[in-house]
Symmetry: C2
Subunit: 428 residues, 2 copies
């Protein structure tokens, strides 16, 4: 017997036919003797509908009331899945966020989960009931409904798995696992049997939209074994514990030769992200503190700055020198960034503000690179050989990222995928 959390997204819950198919899959796990909790999203499109209502009612809506409205989407699907499970003979009941309870802070609309009481849940699971839990929601200390922010259902699933000490948290999505890169760009992308939490964080945050970043961070902290697998394989598919999804695990387990990976690659995958924007400030005075004064107003506005390059200072007049500073921000934050910088123009003393949305960030990710200095040079050489100009570079322990022109995204991903030996024998 194992304890398993199964999480299904909005596409899997879109309509009663699909909910019935989810119920059949849950039944198989329960019938195999497992204790099962299911975390569900709202029906596809429902959260957008409810958010739209709130915005229409008031663009400056009270997040406490917004949470009351949008939490209804998952409430509906959790009740419906419980009904569908009972209809095929599986004892089941729904547990709303305030019923378990799933305690959160009171940052409404973007709450963070604190503790989850498992006493009632344990009793229910031990009695052979499947627990159906709406994702995305919890309850504040003063008893008001909270939601976790968009995509929060993945985080709910991992948090429930941690609280109930689940052996596995299976995330059913519309992809069948994590690939070495986007298979729409590289048909020979390979599905990974295992990735580490750290790699998944880099792959997720730079564009592999499989799991919410926050849920991966939580899984890493709580050591929850997360499996990504497809919700679209038929009911005659093998059981989830033998399904060829991708396991997201700690480094030790990932490095082991068991269960899949015959050979651990140096590089795990290539990610791309077109949601960055580049800003260049010209003629910034090359004096101590002047570059810092650029990033203070951005930090104050909660804007994440990613890559930063400062050119070599050049003489702008006989008496003083100046420099150009380039950096990237999330594309969605570009208007606010421009506003914040223009307001601080006098303090910074820059010449012109030039911005460019037509950029892409390409990242090479792999836990193995920590001990391999050659990864970066392979990247630069490969891109240079195809005439792709590198506009900025940033690195972390397990990642090297470059900023290039948006039009060259697909080409860059393809040549790097080949250069690092990631291509499969046959197209995926």
């Amino acid at each position: 017997m194992a304890r398993i959390v199964m999480k299904f997204g909005g596409t899997s819950m879109a309509g009663i036919e699909r909910i019935r198919s989810v119920a059949a899959r849950v039944k198989r796990e329960a019938a195999a003797g497992n204790q099962v909790a299911v975390v569900v999203s709202a029906m596809a499109g429902e959260t957008d509908r409810l958010v739209g209502f709130c915005r229409e009612a008031s663009p400056l809506y009270d997040p406490r009331e917004y949470d009351v409205v949008v939490a209804a989407g998952e409430q509906i699907t959790s009740g419906l899945l419980a009904i569908a499970l009972q209809a095929i003979g599986v004892p089941a009941r729904s547990w709303l966020g305030w019923q378990l309870p799933i305690n959160t802070d009171d940052a409404f609309a973007k709450a963070r989960i604190g503790t989850i009481d498992t006493q009632a849940l344990d009793a229910s699971l031990s009695a052979g009931e499947v627990a159906v839990i709406p994702g995305f929601q919890g309850v504040s200390a003063e008893g008001r409904i909270t939601t976790l922010g968009r995509g929060g259902s993945d985080t709910s699933a991992v948090a429930v798995a941690a609280a109930m000490k689940a052996d596995r948290c299976d995330i059913y999505t519309d992809v069948d696992g994590v690939y070495t890169t986007d298979p729409r760009i590289v048909p020979r992308a390979r599905k990974l049997a295992k990735v580490t939490y750290e790699e998944m964080l880099e792959l997720a945050s730079v564009g592999a939209k499989v799991l919410q970043t926050r849920s991966v961070g939580l899984a890493m902290k709580e050591k929850v074994r997360v499996q990504v697998l497809s919700s679209f394989t038929g009911e005659d598919a093998p059981m989830a514990d033998t399904l060829p999804g991708t396991m997201i695990v700690g480094e030790e387990e990932a490095a082991s030769q068991e269960n899949g990976d015959v050979e651990r690659q140096l590089i795990t995958g290539i990610a791309h992200d077109k949601n960055e924007a580049k800003i260049t400030l010209t003629s910034v005075p090359d004096t101590p503190g002047s570059v810092a004064s650029i990033f203070e107003p951005l930090a104050a506005a909660n804007i994440n700055v990613d890559m930063i390059i400062q050119n070599i200072a050049h003489r702008s007049s006989a008496s003083s020198s100046a420099t150009d500073v380039t950096f990237t921000v999330p594309a969605a934050d570009l208007p606010r960034s421009i506003e914040a910088l223009n307001q601080a123009r006098e303090a910074i003393g820059f010449g012109e503000l030039i911005h460019d949305m037509r950029v892409a960030k390409i990242s090479v990710v792999g836990v193995g690179m920590r001990s391999h200095a050659g990864v970066a040079s392979t990247m630069f050489t490969t891109l240079g050989a195809r005439g792709i100009n590198i506009q900025a570079i940033s690195t972390s322990e397990i990642k090297v990222s470059v900023l290039i022109h948006e039009d060259e995204t697909e080409l860059a991903v393809r040549v790097l995928h080949t250069a690092y030996g990631l291509d499969a024998e046959e197209a995926a």
Copy 2:
């Protein structure tokens, strides 16, 4: 300062534009210095959509999970109305059934309200907040969501009004009050300034579909002054305390000459109801207990029998006498009634079972008739003069009802409306 409950139905909540118009109306009551709680229905059509999902998931759905699903409709509108109120500067917050809490029994899908805790509500109202409360829902002793059954929002509003000792419970509907009869049948029907709870119960249960019967019964028990008024008059309409709606009150207040009624009529209104079915059992043995044996199986099946006529016994053979028994049941219960009677055929010993859906019940209602014996004879004479055949009669302290052929419904209502002097000078 008064304490007021305002209740808005699904048509008033159908879309953000209408919710905004509700908010404007609530603002006027609050701005006049009143403490206001608002009870809301789900958006028109939403409850049907959610009920449809449950039925599709399983015709034999678990009512506990059904309640989780359908309660979401009112949860959504209560959050949206709170947002719309805040947007026009009115402090407001939603209070879900489990938050107040509104305690109910655990008859899921048809729960009855027990007590309502008003401590938090009182504090919120005293602080100048408008309380927005989803109708139709509560919470069971073990902390599960319950719903009150269709139309339960009227009952929620009256229960909240009773708990918070409200001066008035204003029910905004798509009619602008209670009329002496259906204005679609009699254009000269008059809107009543006041009716008693008892009259309203008779008018509601026999066809004036303004308020849920159960809510009127509760208002009578708890002595809540209920006002029915239109949700469609413009925002420049007079305040609700001077609006020409219909007040539903106790007999003493109804009899007083203040605030409206210049002269209290003997008869308050004429109601009609086409949802009855007539059953006749022929040749029932005229022995003690044999008639009772007809109604036992119907009572066991929870079928309400309304009018009963037993013809004079006639000799069916030399040694025994037999009689025909006619009675009415709700049309929706006709198939079950026939089944129950046929199963008990041997015990009852009837000859034939004849049924007729094409009947209508016409009722003359008025508190005043208790002391006026002539009401019934006026009714029979008036109908007889137009050749309308009376198939059955039943009476209560404040009502005389007759069963006639369905085709004569409108004619009967019109001639009775005139006969009792109810016609207005001009068409409504």
